[in-house]
């Protein structure tokens, strides 16, 4: 019905980083992504072609005391007076915005819509930032107790270890792979292998690490929420991303190689982690995946590559199982065996994932689509997946209260 009705015709993003954007606020970050997005349109596009704006910021209230940010960005991009609406679904905000952009075009209301997200996170100290992002959890029943986002994924990890007789060591395969992929991504927050980071630290601190595991097990990689350590967590980054959507009819006017939206899946899970019977899976992800596969008329095996929500390392393992890429309990083993590396059996998080590319919350969803756009057009350079034809993004809000899966093809 909606399949192939809407296409991506442009994509842009800032580098994700914790210090590079120190002097920029949300508006400057988003304009930067927007200008690159305009430039990326093969046959050129102008302001007057764009009909509407659906933009996300997840916690700009806390970071910049700024809401009504879609209006602000409409103004600052020069797109004013087109309609501008902010979309929020915790960490899945901008993929929700993309979905709504698809609806708006498919409804016949608009031809071309800009979607995207921005998060300026580094205005707060770590403890304040932790609390700000805890607003995405159930305030009275989780937040008040002191449950943080890493805390929730840590609890999922421990439940997973128990059920599948696995351990923290398995998680390191995720961060090692994703740092490797990010080392080839000029937009990534970290652009170095974990061992390179370990070497830098050892030089500075007069320490010595024999190998990655030696470093990751050291106090230099401190606990955030046991069993998760610093390198199990996505970093705090500032950044923005933007995608231009067009009706498939109009798309050809702007590019000869559009990227089509073929599958949309979006479901809500319980707000609290404790309301799920099995803590080793995110039911909303399973269902969102099934809905997206159904719309795209494909199965999980047809996916060539996927950006999955690895806010914390156990999340990637659970995601690859929830999406049907690997059997239950085998997601971690698959990663260890290299089956998820670029041009492995299933290329996962070719851009470095949230873990190494960075996770400016509301910019994450459309940044995943940005990588899919690059891959499907054969523009992913050293990260390029061979014969990439069908790509998937999987974006989770908080501990799984929201899950969004989107499938694209060239």
């Amino acid at each position: 019905m909606l399949m192939n009705k809407v296409a991506l015709i442009g994509a842009g993003m800032t580098r994700f980083h914790h210090s590079l954007h120190k002097d920029k606020s949300s508006r400057e970050l988003f304009v930067e992504a927007f200008l690159e997005c305009l430039d990326s349109v093969d046959k050129s596009i102008s302001h007057k072609d764009i009909d509407a704006l659906f933009i996300s910021a997840t916690a700009s209230e806390f970071f910049e005391h700024q809401s009504h940010i879609a209006c602000l960005l409409s103004d600052w991009t020069g797109l004013n007076p087109i309609p501008a609406t902010r979309i929020e679904a915790a960490c899945a905000s901008s993929s929700a915005a993309l979905e709504i952009g698809v609806f708006a075009i498919a409804s016949g209301m608009y031809d071309i819509v800009l979607v995207g997200g921005v998060e300026k996170m580094t205005t707060l100290e770590v403890d304040e930032m932790t609390y700000a992002l805890m607003s995405g959890l159930d305030h009275p029943y989780e937040c008040i107790l002191g449950v943080s986002n890493p805390g929730l994924y840590a609890m999922m990890a421990n439940a997973y270890f128990e059920k599948y007789d696995s351990s923290w060591e398995e998680l390191t395969s995720i961060s090692i792979k994703n740092h490797h992929n990010a080392s080839m991504n000029p937009k990534a927050h970290f652009q170095s292998e974990i061992m390179d980071i370990a070497k830098k630290i050892s030089q500075k601190k007069g320490l010595k690490f024999d190998n990655e595991m030696d470093f990751l097990k050291s106090p230099t990689n401190p606990y955030i929420a046991h069993p998760l350590r610093l390198f199990d967590c996505s970093p705090v980054s500032d950044g923005a991303s933007a995608i231009l959507l067009a009706s498939s009819k109009k798309a050809k006017k702007f590019t000869d190689t559009p990227v089509y939206v073929t599958g949309l899946g979006h479901t809500s899970g319980t707000m609290s982690l404790h309301d799920r019977r099995d803590l080793t899976s995110i039911p909303a992800s399973v269902e969102a995946g099934n809905r997206a596969y159904k719309m795209a008329k494909i199965e999980s095996k047809d996916i060539d590559f996927a950006m999955v929500h690895d806010c914390f390392t156990p999340a990637e393992i659970i995601a690859t199982e929830d999406l049907g890429f690997f059997p239950r309990g085998e997601g971690g083993k698959a990663a260890i065996e290299g089956r998820t590396r670029i041009n492995g059996e299933k290329s996962i998080n070719t851009d470095g994932g949230l873990k190494a590319k960075g996770h400016p919350i509301a910019a994450t969803g459309t940044a995943m689509s940005y990588e899919v756009w690059k891959q499907l057009r054969g523009e992913a350079d050293k990260r390029q997946v061979n014969n990439a034809e069908i790509g998937l993004i999987h974006n989770v809000g908080a501990s799984g209260g929201t899950a969004i899966v989107q499938i694209f093809r060239r």
Binding site: E125, V126, D127, E128, T130, Y131, M134, P140, Y141, E142, I144, L145, G146, V147, S148, P150, G151, A154, M155, M156, N158, A159, E162, P222, Y223, I224, A225, H226, P227, L228, S272, L273, H274, D275, R276, R277, L279
Partner: protein, 131 residues
């Protein structure tokens, strides 16, 4: 339908202050829920009554929080867990009575019972091991 019931967040915490762990029972399908809800998660009917949980259960999972939000910075590291209550439902609580420097001592599956601790202005649900 009765919209004006009191199965609220506030009521849960009012009970917690009295050291009572209260959820609801669906009068239609007998489904038990905690914290209290206004609509049954199973049959979707808004026909509920208060139900008191004993507070006994088994630890389903846990974490030790090292990087805490501002208000709890002084308390870190602290332990959090999800407990499967004997009556069925799961709920999140602070885990007390075990020290965070010995994570091996905290075992998934260990039996725990509810406790009620005072923190800042509110009563917090906690669980401690049964010895």
């Amino acid at each position: 339908m009765n919209y004006k019931n009191s199965f609220s967040v506030k009521a849960f915490f009012d009970y917690l202050r009295e050291k009572r762990l209260m959820g609801v029972k669906c009068l239609n399908c007998k489904n038990l829920m905690i914290p209290p809800r206004l609509i049954c998660t199973a049959c979707k009917k808004a026909n509920l009554e208060w139900f008191e949980f004993e507070g006994a259960g088994a630890l389903e999972t846990f974490t030790i929080l090292h990087v805490a939000p501002t208000s709890l910075k002084d308390k870190a590291p602290y332990i959090l867990g999800i407990v499967k209550l004997n009556e069925g439902p799961l709920i999140t609580g602070r885990i007390i009575g075990v020290t965070s420097d010995k994570p091996k001592r905290i075992r998934i599956g260990m039996s725990v019972k509810a406790d009620f601790i005072q923190e800042s202005d509110s009563t917090i649900l906690a669980f401690k091991p049964n010895n």
